[in-house]
């Protein structure tokens, strides 16, 4: 067993780290907390559905002066609640802590003294993050879909294909934000603060204005993937429509792929070369 051997491949090693980390991540206190966060849209959906039942759908014609079906409300919730809030929050809290948690728990030693590339630890934990967050988000979105779409006589069957697109968009968002914040977590001090400022300061700010800066956000590319029609008759929505420059779906997908690959590559390089000094 002590004869000269070559290390397992990066993908195989990452898969084993995923296997080792997933259970730890799923049952962590962070997941419990963020699971509760994902309960908020469900509670909101229950409230809206209750109102719909009580008022026989009549009130939905009053929203912004236009008729809103259940599919449109669901689309708004996907964009405003999930893509613009929950997905970045999940990305910040998990992504910045992929390696930091192991360092804080002092368990990183066991992983870094095994015959695998250090970058496999980061990639395996990133994959664990993706599986974990998708498993957290999926039930919440499904419940919201089945509660909201039938509002005002909406058809679940007709809206179902767009749900699949939404799942793809959510997965792309989780992948992109997770990779960006993994990079922040490996290269920057105080990554949580920097991550929150990026997600809830920088991105909303630059998306409001025309110009090239919005290309330095993840949300800019994600919004091209939104399939739902939004009500557009309010002053704010009309203003936003004027400034809204949405790239094509293919450009967005390519950009998101570049963001994911580039940030993960850079984060991996950082982990390969960084010394982690554990406090005694």
């Amino acid at each position: 067993m002590s004869a000269r051997r070559t290390t397992p491949s990066l993908t195989r090693s990452a898969a084993r780290i995923l296997d080792l980390s997933l259970g730890q991540m799923l049952w962590s206190r962070r997941s419990v907390f963020l699971g509760l966060l994902l309960g908020f849209p469900v509670l909101l959906a229950i409230a809206l559905r209750t109102i719909d039942i009580l008022y026989r759908s009549g009130m939905w014609r009053q929203v912004n002066g236009v008729k809103m079906g259940g599919a449109a409300i669901f689309g708004m919730m996907i964009w405003l609640l999930y893509i613009r809030f929950i997905v970045p929050v999940l990305g910040v809290f998990y992504g910045t802590s992929l390696i930091a948690d192991e360092v804080d728990d002092k368990t990183i030693t066991y992983l870094f003294t095994r015959p695998i590339p250090r970058s496999a630890v980061l990639l395996g934990k990133y994959l664990a993050y993706l599986v974990c967050t998708i498993l957290l988000v999926l039930p919440s979105v499904m419940i919201v879909f089945f509660l909201i779409v039938p509002i005002a006589g909406g058809s679940i069957a007709a809206a179902f294909p767009s749900l699949l697109v939404d799942f793809g968009m959510l997965a792309a968002g989780l992948a992109a934000y997770g990779a960006v914040f993994a990079l922040v977590g490996t290269r920057i001090k105080r990554p949580l603060i920097v991550g929150l400022v990026f997600a809830f300061g920088w991105e909303p700010a630059v998306l409001l204005f025309p110009g090239y800066l919005k290309r330095l956000t993840v949300a800019y590319y994600l919004q091209a993937l939104v399939t739902h029609e939004m009500p557009q008759d309010s002053a704010v929505s009309l203003l936003m429509q004027v400034f809204r420059e949405v790239p094509s779906v293919s450009v967005s997908l390519a950009a998101l792929a570049v963001i994911i690959a580039g940030t993960l590559w850079s984060a991996s390089r950082a982990v390969e070369h960084k010394e982690y000094v554990l406090e005694q």
Binding site: M1, S2, R4, R5, T6, T7, P8, R12, S13, R16, I17, D19, L20, G23, Q24, W27, D105, K106, T107, T109, Y110, L111, F112, T113, R114, P115, I116, P117, R118, E272, E275, Y276, V277, L278, Q280
Partner: protein
């Protein structure tokens, strides 16, 4: 790599953390077999351990393990097992799950990893508790499961950082016996401790470290020889301590002298000559009975304390 080649070699090895020096210009070679790394807390043991396990990169100089540089060389971990000092685990996993998962990182299949893990747990006498969650383990069991993950893949070199910490006396004795057995089975082992009698009971080959420097290296006798070049303390319990003191002070090798309860404690620069005269005095009976002669330097603990004080 031949059988007598050093398992660890360091050339002018230094490590500093900002302004703080962790290890200072250390040059050494650790031979095969069991080697004890001794030093008080903060001496630089942990820094040395982290450097030879590739967790830290040398600030200056070089370190090789089994003939190869360790930093950025993951393939070397097939041949190394490391038991860290920290009490850190995935608490929700059972001992078997944890050791299996880590064995899988060595490239083993699920079934081979499980068999390897069982063997490792058996070697540390923990197979009965293999299916218990680590969170429910006692301190001694946690130490043993750490050792199991280090040795399960049958490494050529085992590096154990304070492995006896927190163990009860019975487990401590068992573990010492295990480490000696592994040494006899041909493994090279580097074991650190800040308690000398622990190391003394495992090996005669020691490295003494303090303030980031290696104070001495070699076997106990070599270190004793080193000690003999320095003042040597002898405790003599006798009936006529003052008369004895007068006799001792007639010789210039006696450097200092003090009285304790019914005893005189002498510090000498030439212990051999001093002991020869003392034997003559005791045999003649001229200055009364000499009840007890001991030297705090006769055990390794005193050697260690003596050296780290210098």
């Amino acid at each position: 790599m031949n059988a007598s080649a050093p398992v660890v070699g360091a050339e002018h090895l230094s490590k500093w953390y900002g302004q703080v020096i962790g290890l200072n210009d250390v040059t050494l070679s650790v031979p095969p077999g069991i080697t004890g790394l001794l030093g008080p807390n903060g001496a630089g043991k942990s820094t040395f351990m982290k450097l030879i396990t590739g967790q830290l990169k040398p600030s200056k100089g070089s370190v090789t393990v089994l003939g190869e540089p360790i930093w950025g060389n993951p393939a070397l971990y097939f041949r190394i097992g490391f038991c860290p000092e920290q009490d850190a685990f995935y608490e929700r996993m059972t001992g078997l799950e944890w050791v299996t998962a880590l064995a899988r990182l060595n490239g083993l299949s699920e079934s081979d990893a499980a068999a390897t893990a069982r063997r490792g747990l058996e070697m540390v006498d923990l197979l009965d508790a293999a299916d218990k969650k680590i969170g429910a383990y006692s301190k001694g069991m946690r130490q043993r499961v750490k050792m199991a993950q280090a040795l399960a893949h049958e490494p050529q070199l085992l590096i154990l950082d304070e492995p006896l910490s927190g163990m009860d006396p019975i487990m401590r004795r068992k573990t010492i016996r295990m480490i000696k057995e592994w040494g006899r089975a041909g493994k090279s082992i580097i074991v650190s401790s800040h308690i000398l009698h622990e190391i003394e009971s495992m090996t005669a080959n020691i490295l003494l470290i303090n303030q980031g420097r290696i104070l001495a290296e070699g076997n106990v006798h070599q270190i004793r020889d080193l000690i003999d070049e320095h003042p040597h303390t002898v405790y003599i319990k006798a009936d006529q301590t003052r008369a004895l003191a007068r006799a001792f002070l007639a010789h210039d090798d006696v450097l200092s002298l003090r009285f304790e309860d019914q005893a005189v404690v002498v510090q000498t620069g030439r212990p051999d000559a001093f002991y020869a005269r003392l034997t003559d005095l005791a045999a003649s009976g001229e200055l009364g009975a000499i009840h007890e002669v001991t030297s705090p330097d006769d055990n390794l603990q005193a050697v260690f304390q003596y050296l780290v004080k210098t």
